[in-house]
Each structure stands twice: as C-alpha cells, then as structure tokens.
Symmetry: C2
Subunit: 300 residues, 2 copies
Amino acid sequence: MSSSILCAGSIALDTTRTPFKTAERVLGGAGTYFSVSASHFASVSLLGIVGSDFPSAHWKLLQERGIDLEGVQRSSGKTMFFDSEFSYDFYARKVHATELNVYEHFAPSVPPSLQKTGYLYLGTLEPSKQLHILESCQPRFVLMDTIELYIQKHKKELEKVVSKVDGIVLNDIEARMLCKKPSLFQCARHIQALGAELVVIKKGEHGSILFFEDFVFPLPAFPLETVVDPTGAGDAFAGGFFGHLARSKNMGEKTLKQALAYGNVMGAFCIEDFSVGKLVSLSPEDIQSRFERYQKILQI
Amino acid sequence: MSSSILCAGSIALDTTRTPFKTAERVLGGAGTYFSVSASHFASVSLLGIVGSDFPSAHWKLLQERGIDLEGVQRSSGKTMFFDSEFSYDFYARKVHATELNVYEHFAPSVPPSLQKTGYLYLGTLEPSKQLHILESCQPRFVLMDTIELYIQKHKKELEKVVSKVDGIVLNDIEARMLCKKPSLFQCARHIQALGAELVVIKKGEHGSILFFEDFVFPLPAFPLETVVDPTGAGDAFAGGFFGHLARSKNMGEKTLKQALAYGNVMGAFCIEDFSVGKLVSLSPEDIQSRFERYQKILQI
C-alpha cells in the first residue's frame, strides 16, 4: 500500500493583519497549510479549487514543494478569500471577511489515479463532501478535521463521517461543542464511541493530546518566544502528524507519540512567519533538529 | 545548609460540594496542601494559625505526616473557613463563603529554631507578612506564591517581595494580571526583570511551564481520567516541586525538570480525593511509580 497522502481542503488567499505587519492576499487555506507541512514527510496530492485570480507564483510554489495538483480544479470565479486581524495578544482573531467564492460550490472529484491513495485527509469541507470523497477512495487510513460551523449546522452528517473514519483532529473548542462535555477525556471517549478510534485534540499554546484505544498521550506546545502569525498552525500540525504516520506505515505507540511531536514541531514552525513562508523554507535537517531538541526538552 | 522547608500559609476548614459528594469542614488551606505534599520529599515546618475549633484529628494527621507544627499558633477564634461548589465540569468554582477568621489578623512570627531553614516557601499571605517572614530568616532559597486579591490590592508591596525572592509559583491568570501581558513568555521575562529568576506558571489541566535564566521547560498535566476534587492541586504541585528542589539541594536543569514533573505528579494525586485524603495515603513507591510512568509517557 502506498504511503502517499491525498488531502482535500481549502486553498485561499489570506489578508492577515497583525500589530506589526499586514500580509495581503498571501497563500492560505487549511488544505494549503496541511499539504505544505505534510510534503516534508510523504508525497502529497491536493484536492481543492482555485479561481482565475489565483497567482501563478502560488501554484508554482506548491509544485516546487512536490505537491501534486492534478486534483485542484481551476474555476472561472474568485479564489476563497479570508481577511482577519490579530491584536497584540495573538489570541483572539477578528474576522473582517470570509468569502468562500469558488469553494462554496466546490464539487470534489477524485481523479482515478488518486483513488488508491494510502492515506486520506478529509480537511475542512462540508460533511456531505467529505463523505463523497471517502466513498470514492479505498484508503488504508482516513483522518478528518472539521470546524465549528459544520458541528452547528450539519451535526448528524458529521457524526456519520466520524463513524467511517479512523481518526479525527480537532481543537478543544470543537471537541467540547461536538460532544457537549467539558472534559477532553470524556470528549475523546465520546468520539471513539462514534467510531473514530484515534482522537487528537489540539489546544493551541497548550499543545495537544492524543487518544488511541486505551492510550492517552499529552504533549505541551514546542516552546516559542516569538509569534509572527498563528494562522494555519493547526493545519500545519495535522500535516506533520499525518505525514509522519504515513511515512512510518504503522500505528504503534511510539509512532503515534512521535507523530504528535512532529505535529507540534510543524505547528511551531508555521507561526514563525506569515503564510507558508517558514514551512517552505525548511530543510529535513531543520525539522529533525527541532524534533530532537523537543525530545531532549521532554526527557525528564 | 539544611534541606528542610519552612512553609508559611493558610490552614483552613473546607466545605467542598461537587455533584457527586459534599465534604464538610475537611482539612484544607494552601499551607496544608503544600506541607502534606512536600513532606513526602523533605522535612517540613508549617507557619500558620488555627482557631479553637480546629479538630485535634487534623492536628494529629499533620503530625503523623512528620510536619513540625511549632510555628502554628492556636488562637481563641475560629479557623479560616472556605465553602465552595463545583459544577459538573469541575472548571468553574462557585464560592459560597470565605471566612478568614483568625487568619485575617495572623501575625506570623518565626520561632528561632526555624530561622535557619534552608528552603522558605512564602504561601498566600499579604505581601507585608511575606516580607516580614523573609526578613526573619536567612534561607538558601525562597519560593513565593500569591493570589489575585494581593495583585489587585497590594501590587507595589507584592513587587517588592518578588524582587527579594529566588522564585515564584503562580497560575496563568495571576501571571497575566500581574504583568499585564497575554504571552506567558513575556510574563516570565517581566517577573524575572522584577527579580525572581525562577518563574513557574501553573496552567491547571494544561500542565505547567518553568522559566529559569534562558531555560524554558513546558510539561503537560499528568493525564488523569477522573477528578474527585480539584481543591489544593496547585498547592500540592508547589509542594512536590519545592520538595524535590530541597531534597536535591541544587538548581541544575535536570533537577528543575524533575521537580516540575514531581509537582505535576503530586497535583494529579491531590485531585483524586477530597482534602488531603489521597496525599496522606501515598507511599514513596506510589510517587516514584507515577513519576516513572510520566517519564515514560513523555519519552518520544
């Protein structure tokens, strides 16, 4: 079975405002962040849609990271656009505009060459679209993500997707919203009962916690003094996590722990620059060196 | 220099209500939780005050843990009393009553035999009282705690105490309130500039993070499925942390990391029962075995 990853998710143009700098119409989108991050670990194909305004430089950047774009549709409309602003604390984000544009009517279609992908990542898409993609493929392992909007609007369909996947990555707010339980342990057990045996909960600056069968593994975030732009950190995390699982081709306890650590490492790299600026600049040695530093920090 | 600890802090009677059980007038107080926890690591003397209603069984329990009570005044009034309630989520606590009683007019006086203590822990007391105790002793190392009330009401005096101690333990809310900065890294640098070179920030279910000189060390909480009563967890944490520092008699990186881990281990034990029920029942093997499990979990 191939260790290649198929990632379905959004590709966007982001305007991100921080008190220190504004980045205008830079490459963004959860699918983008995931793919660029995962491409350091495994071969990645992206399934998504862009408009006619999508800069060729962005297309080229993704290709140069070795990301297969056969599954990316080019439409005549406008690319998804997201405009947001962080205040000095980098915690709360004020959203100025979310224009789904061509992403709203995206009808995902998996090219035959990608239907035999080993690892499928169902990024933030409406649950019905996630299900359609899932049913088009015969993957070895499926990991999904979701967002508050789909939990609120499409809960029943979302739970159906959860029942059919192997794992889910979501943040603590989403977990509590989906499960209506305050304890993350109880949320994880609830999701496992729905059908996903691997549950990874992202906690931003507090790191992440992984549940698999009876196994519970918490990790703090990789300690970083300086944040440039937190956009995409959760998706870069998921890319590192799933990328390491795919390249390791097993689900042993050691692999899961290391995957979570690589996820935190990639999330930390992500926030050190706007867009995927830092993520595309990384060498294998940069990633390995930070992973080993993290290992050393946690050795008590 | 002696590795004994002198802990100044509150001794109280707690009524704690949870959806599952109510514990009435059980042994509580930050000084109590700290001392019982630290007594597993070093010899501890407690400096505090109780009223004439303080049950002799509680006094005996502290003595049986080997805690020296020479510095505990017995007054004719009522012991400090705290009545609080947790809802199903165990996050928010509703306070029904905080009666300081004899603690309000507590005039701490360090008996001559305790003035040469090696390790001094200044628990939650008004800054002027912390300062008075500090000036009565010649300790090798001083760690302090504080609460929101003193940050709001006695900030100048509190900052003076911070300038005279070696380290401080406080929670994330207190750190942000004291420093008026959202980033915990920035808070730590701010506190270090005030004078405390060791800064430990407690984050409840998210663990803790330690700053010492240029060294940053984050740890997740020890993973626990079931919570009985979160009261005292932060004080039990501080007891395990300081207890290990005292018994190790050094401030090396390895010692600091292990101290933080012992702190998290003791905090996790604490919340498994009401009052100090679990903490007094522990054997050295229980503590060591959980510490080693924690070490193994974090080995990636």
